[in-house]
């Protein structure tokens, strides 16, 4: 039978050449430095997302499975937009960057790779991470780099919810039972050393100028929020020494290898597989 025009209307998705998955923006990073900076932010979001996803089905209550799963999904969205932008510089896509880089090529800060631990430890990590990200994206909205500014504007609305979630839980645990209070205090002591790395400047930041949000400039806003929360929860800022860190230059702690192995195994075992 000769194909008629009417036949053309019956198309299924399989028959169409669909573009690669959507993940925001078509713009190309303007320099290797901008791409490197986008990787810093992308890897923070990606590693934290991977960690939070592990809570699904294991959180203390069903609402928390859903909440942590949702937060992980938002972070994955941020990571995808940022990875895509970072990869636009040298022609790599988001999957190349997420699945086929080795540990020393990841730029995430050490706090993101700290183990989930118990629920209090995850909440303590969330408090630091989401308060930092809130300050970061607030500042980055005025970046001279249009793509970074757009991603920041989008992400900020979501991180606002993440921060509120962490704050509510810190208040609840600190004001709950003797045991819950003891656990959140111990958890904050454990993760506090890793907060500092987030606010360290770097020659990369100097080179980027107003395209980046200078890490040290975010500290005051972060401290103000933490002071308010701790004041209300009657907690003290942990008196612990800052960790060495080194994630921005590819040096990572032991948990990172295990985390990446789990995240990357499927894509590496079956390159090119889609599902």
């Amino acid at each position: 039978m000769t194909a008629t025009h009417e036949d053309d209307v019956h198309v299924s998705v399989d028959e169409l050449q669909l573009a690669s998955e959507l993940s925001g923006g078509e713009a190309r990073a303007t320099s290797a430095d901008v791409a490197e900076y986008a990787l810093w932010l992308a890897d923070d979001a990606l590693i934290l997302s991977q960690q939070l996803g592990a809570w699904i089905s294991r959180a203390p209550e069903l609402e928390e499975d859903v909440a942590l799963g949702n937060i992980a999904l938002d972070l994955l969205g941020h990571a995808r937009s940022l990875l895509r932008y970072a990869g636009s510089w040298d022609g790599r896509n988001e999957d190349d960057l997420a699945y086929f880089r080795d540990e020393p090529e990841f730029r995430s800060a050490w706090i993101m790779e700290q183990p989930n631990g118990d629920f209090a430890q995850t909440i303590a990590r969330q408090l630091i991470a989401s308060t930092y990200m809130f300050e970061l994206y607030t500042a980055l909205r005025s970046s001279t780099d249009e793509t970074l500014a757009a991603i920041a504007e989008k992400s900020l609305k979501e991180v606002d919810y993440h921060r509120d979630h962490a704050v509510q839980w810190v208040l609840r645990l600190a004001g709950g039972t003797e045991l819950s209070r003891e656990k959140i205090i111990r958890a904050l002591d454990d993760v506090w050393p890793y907060a500092d790395e987030l606010f360290r400047d770097d020659p990369l930041i100097d080179r980027l100028g107003d395209a980046a949000a200078r890490p040290s400039s975010l500290r005051a806003g972060f401290d103000a929020v933490i002071d308010t929360v701790f004041g209300q929860a009657q907690l003290d800022v942990p008196a612990v020494a800052a960790s060495r860190g080194g994630g921005r230059h590819g040096s990572h702690a032991t948990p990172m290898g295990h985390l990446l192995a789990e995240m990357q195994v499927l894509a590496r075992r079956h390159p090119g597989a889609t599902w």
Binding site: G77, H78, E158, H165
Partner: protein, 165 residues
């Protein structure tokens, strides 16, 4: 744009506007404010701009495919769907018609407008089943990124609320 490309764009927009959200099928992408712009060039190539509700929203890939399918089925040859992040999506863009359809579907629509300052005014959320304003949030995170879980103190039913952002 010439009159012809303008007509092409208008026709393409009308088709794209009918694409439904895969998670909340009573709403179209136009009701949601996800459809931002439809353009056409002299060769008939159509470009559709959409914006995600939430960064990680998995529905965006399905929406993109559905737009391409709908336009291709109507005879459009080359269709390009672009994801734009700025300006960031807000529930303020949801149409009044969309809010009404959402409530009829059993999801409490966003109440009031997104706040743009430090002071967040939280309005009561009306139960989509019995209409009572005596409701409470049980979880800020629900079955999809855009919804929160509520329960009604009057009829005791749990329900979804489309969060204001």
């Amino acid at each position: 744009m010439s009159t012809q490309t303008l007509n092409t764009a208008t026709r393409a927009r009308a088709i794209a506007a009918r694409v439904a959200d895969p998670e909340i099928p009573v709403l179209t992408i136009e009701d949601l404010g996800v459809l931002r712009e439809v353009r056409a060039d002299a060769d008939g190539r159509v470009t559709v701009d959409i914006t995600p509700t939430y960064s990680g929203c998995p529905a965006m890939d399905a929406i993109r495919d559905d737009i391409i399918l709908a336009l291709t089925a109507d005879g459009f040859g080359e269709v390009d769907v672009r994801l734009v992040l700025s300006p960031a999506w807000s529930t303020d863009w949801m149409s009044e018609d969309g809010k009404r359809k959402l409530a009829e579907y059993g999801i409490a629509p966003p109440t009031g407008r997104a706040s743009h300052g430090p002071i967040k005014v939280k309005l009561a959320v009306k139960c989509p089943r019995c209409g009572s304003l005596d409701t409470r949030e049980t979880s800020r995170f629900g079955s999809t990124s855009c919804k929160a879980l509520y329960e009604c103190r009057a009829c005791l039913e749990p329900f979804d609320h489309f969060k204001v952002i």
